[in-house]
């Protein structure tokens, strides 16, 4: 499988990364190089093999259904790039 410039632009859109024409052009070559190389995984016989889900066997723990944190609004907002009072500021989304 290989990607063309349209596909690169689509991946960039899905990734929410702005990309110009020149960058897209360059990325076509880089992604194709990497994808051609990972393609060799296709030759491995994986019949009957389950995809790995946990690298070290570990039980998923349950905890008591109680509040263990919260009440830290100012800390949550402390690093906001554009805070509006006690809210995160974002560009207008509804006209």
């Amino acid at each position: 499988m290989s990607v063309d410039k349209d596909t690169v632009n689509k991946i960039a859109r899905l990734s929410r990364i702005a990309i110009n024409d020149e960058e897209a052009e360059k990325m076509v070559g880089e992604l194709n190089g990497i994808l051609a190389w990972v393609e060799q995984l296709g030759e491995v016989d994986v019949t009957g093999v389950e995809p790995m889900t946990a690298v070290i066997p570990n039980k998923t723990r349950l905890r008591d259904d109680i509040v263990t944190d919260g009440d830290m609004r100012d800390k949550v907002l402390a690093n906001a790039p554009a805070k509006e009072g006690i809210f995160f500021g974002v560009p207008k989304v509804i006209e």
Partner: protein, 494 residues
Amino acid sequence: MTDLTKLGVAAIRDGVASGAFKAVEVAEAFNTNVAAAKVLNAFIVETPEKAVEAAQAVDADRAAGKPLGKMAGVPIGMKDLFCTEGVQTTAASHILEGFIPQYESTVSANLWRAGAGMLGKLNMDQFAMGSSNETSYFGNVISPWKRGGGDNAALAPGGSSGGSASAIAARLCPAATGTDTGGSIRQPAAFVGISGIKPTYGRCSRWGIVAFASSLDQAGPMARDVRDCAIMLEAMAGFDPKDSTSLDLAVPDWEAALSSDLRGKKVGIPKEYRLDGIDEDIAAMWDNGIAWLKDAGAEIVEISLPHTKYALPAYYIIAPAEASSNLARYDGVRYGLRDLPDGAGLQDMYAATRAAGFGAEVRRRIMIGTYVLSAGFYDAYYTQAQKVRALIARDFEQAWGVCDLILAPTAPSAAFGLGEKTNDPLSMYLNDVFAVPASLAGLPAMSVPGGLSKEGLPLGLQIVGKALDEQGVLNAGLAIEERAGFTAEAEKWW
């Protein structure tokens, strides 16, 4: 008076405990070295006052006769991937420049509780993506090492924990934290002639560590020798309910059980690691390592890890896939950089912020990850890679039927020059060919110095152990350390 910056973790801890010197003297000595080594660019933020404060607390505890922690009086460097409350944490990315965590990572909190102090935040590859420390937004870290024969080329300290490696090798700190996703502790340790261990996945909590690839990320110590690594790993490790993959197990007393007597141990030599055209210095060092382990009493057996050649391509699907998902959080809204072009809406703001904030390698990996997870390609790439990963883990399981440990080189070459591999992402990725299989299988693995190349650069030997057998790994590392007699140091030029 002895130069306190020549001392390692154990010597500092013991000297502070016995009263041979004060913790504050140690902190000040390292602060001085840090301040004088800016040309190495190992630190993004220096925190001399934190180092002194922690040392004063240790000195006060000792004066009051209180018990001292495992790392009491030891100043360390903290990789800038660990969130440190009140101190900028960036993962070496522009997108997090100015981010001041409101909380402390579990691993760093464990270290402070054990009496360690912080010298500063160490430079690294951006989001831990890189093998040469050339992807940092804050500039390359320079290795203190130079090739012999008057070659003045600046060398890579390895990556992603390149600041940690460079700082320890240059004696700016006796030890530092690292994180290892696909070799990021072991390869830099090898490049600068120090030791480092990635423990079993789940030993150290990931809570508060900026996430790269969550099924692979694991913290570990980097230090001058095996004992120092054992001490620091004890302080870092432990169950943490805040990390769902943290192992609920007691932390063994690794230091007390150190023993270089390997009688009764079988060490496997994987034949697939003898790559065609393997560097002859690396091959010779590997042979020396085999001889040293035999001398320590181990029996050497040839083993096969048949899926080795597929480890790297599987890694370069799985790690970017997880990264693309983890790094979705950087949206310019809640923290970090925001780039809001004139008249831009929310979607444009996300895209502009991420384009401006992420470096080229990070953007490349997010896009690969997004592609392999996208509709129509998920099974062909991601599911296939996770199946191959299961086979790689099975290879190791089968090897444990005939051996207890595995010995291999850490990296396929000595350190390369800065800029030598940056134009070709694939040749950079190949640097981790020996390191990635153990990461994919979640196994403990360590690099210890194994000798010097013809150019006079350090080379590392890697020991891989069974899950949870950090002790076996450390013991074999100690056996090599005692026999390798590695005392070479970078000649000071900075």
